[in-house]
Amino acid sequence: MGALRRVDKNCACVESIIQSNGGGKDSLISILQDVQAEYHYLPEKALRRVAKNLGLPLVQVYGVATFFKAFSLKPRGKHLVHVCLGTACHVRRAPAVLAEVERHLGVAKGETTPNFEFTLETVNCLGTCALGPIVMVDEKYYGQMNVGKVKKMLAGYKKFSRPKRDEKIKVSA
C-alpha cells in the first residue's frame, strides 16, 4: 500500500484496511499502520472512521496515535529521512550531515518539503552505531555518511524541491 494516492475526501479506503486486518478492536495499531502507509500520516477523518467502525472511543484511537512516534497527525512526505544524532554518530559529525541534508532539502528537521516528497527527522539512535554517522531513508540505511555523500543519496529518490540560490544561503546560515 505504499503508493501515494490523492487523499479521498472521506477516507473511504479505511473500511477495506479494517477488513483486511480482521476488523477487531485488538488490531488497532496494525490498522493505523496501514492507514499511515496509505496517506503517509493519519488524517483526522480516517481516525474518526476507524473509531466508529471498531466501536472504540475516538480518544482511545487518538491516544494510540499520539503515543507512538511512528504515527504522525501532520501530513508527511513520501520519503522519510531519518538522520541519527546518537552519541556515536554525533562524535562522527552527524550534525554536519544533518546540516547538509537540511540544505539540500531546504527544510529544517521535523519539517516536510512543500511538494510532500521528503520529511526530515532526527533520531537518537538507529542501533547501528558501528556504521555511524548513519542516515535512514524509508527502510534503507546509509552508513558512514559524510557531507559529500548526501547529494548522491538523495538523488536516488525522486525529485526533491531544490531551493533557489538565495534560499540556500538563508538555510545554511
Binding site: L56, P57, L58, V59, Q60, V61, Y62, T66, F67
Partner: protein, 222 residues
C-alpha cells in the same frame, strides 16, 4: 479464601481481594489517590505502597493492584514504607502543588519540604477521570494523550467529543479540580495552611495507626 498477615494481624479474605481492601476491612488505613472502590485498580500514584516480606528480603508494592495471596506478610507502615511514601508525596507535590488533597496528604505524612523542582502541571495523571468516564459513564470522552513528559488528559483533537454528556463526573472525582488549594501562597510547593498549622489532637494514646489526623498530635510524625 486466602490467609495473610497485615501489620501482624492474621486475616482471611476471599480470593481476588486486593491488599488495600483487605487492610481496610481490618481498619488499617492505607492512603490512596488513584484508587476508587467503583473503578478498576490502576496503580498510578504509588501512594498506597506497602512492604511485602519475602523470606529474608522484602519488596515495595502498590497495594491497590496487589492481590492478596496465601501466607503473604504485609507491613503497611514500616520505616521503609514511610520514607518511600514521603518521597512519592514530594514528587506528586512537585508536579501539582495546587491540589488540596495532596497538601493534606503531605501534612498528614509529615512532608515539610519538597526537594524537587516545582513544575505545576495541575494534574497528577492518576487516571481517575479517565476511568470514571469510561467505566462508570460508559462514555470514553477523555483519555490520555501523548507520551512521557508530554502525557496529559485531553479530548481527541481538543474538541468536546460527541460522547460527552456534561455529567461533570471527571471534575467531581478529580483530586485537583474539586478541591483546589485555597492557600494564599505556596512556599516551595507546600501551602502550610490547614493541617500544617493547626494540629488536631484526637488520640490520647498513640497506637501507631497508619494514618494520622494531624501533624503535631501524632508521635508517628517527625
Amino acid at each position: 479464601m486466602v490467609e495473610l498477615t497485615i501489620d501482624g494481624i492474621p486475616t482471611r479474605v476471599p480470593e481476588g481481594t486486593t491488599v488495600v481492601e483487605a487492610a481496610r476491612d481490618l481498619g488499617i488505613v492505607i492512603p490512596t489517590l488513584c484508587h476508587h472502590p467503583g473503578l478498576s485498580p490502576y496503580g498510578a500514584c504509588r501512594v498506597c505502597l506497602v512492604e511485602v516480606a519475602k523470606g529474608k528480603r522484602s519488596s515495595l508494592e502498590a497495594s491497590c493492584t496487589l492481590p492478596a495471596a496465601e501466607g503473604q506478610v504485609i507491613f503497611t507502615n514500616s520505616a521503609r514504607v514511610k520514607a518511600t511514601r514521603k518521597v512519592i508525596i514530594e514528587l506528586l507535590l512537585a508536579s501539582c502543588p495546587s491540589s488540596k488533597t495532596l497538601q493534606d496528604l503531605a501534612a498528614n505524612f509529615g512532608v515539610n519540604r519538597v526537594r524537587f523542582q516545582i513544575k505545576d502541571k495541575n494534574c497528577i495523571l492518576c487516571g481517575l477521570c479517565v476511568r470514571y468516564c469510561k467505566e462508570q459513564m460508559q462514555s470514553g470522552g477523555i483519555g490520555f494523550v501523548g507520551r512521557g513528559t508530554g502525557r496529559q488528559v485531553a479530548t481527541a483533537f481538543s474538541v468536546t467529543p460527541e460522547e460527552c454528556r456534561n455529567c461533570g463526573g471527571c471534575e467531581w472525582i478529580c483530586p485537583v479540580c474539586e478541591r483546589a488549594c485555597t492557600a494564599d501562597r505556596l512556599v516551595n510547593g507546600l501551602c502550610g495552611g490547614c493541617q500544617n498549622v493547626f494540629p488536631v489532637e484526637t488520640c490520647p494514646v498513640c497506637v501507631n495507626c497508619s494514618q494520622s489526623v494531624g501533624a503535631a498530635g501524632h508521635k508517628v510524625y517527625y
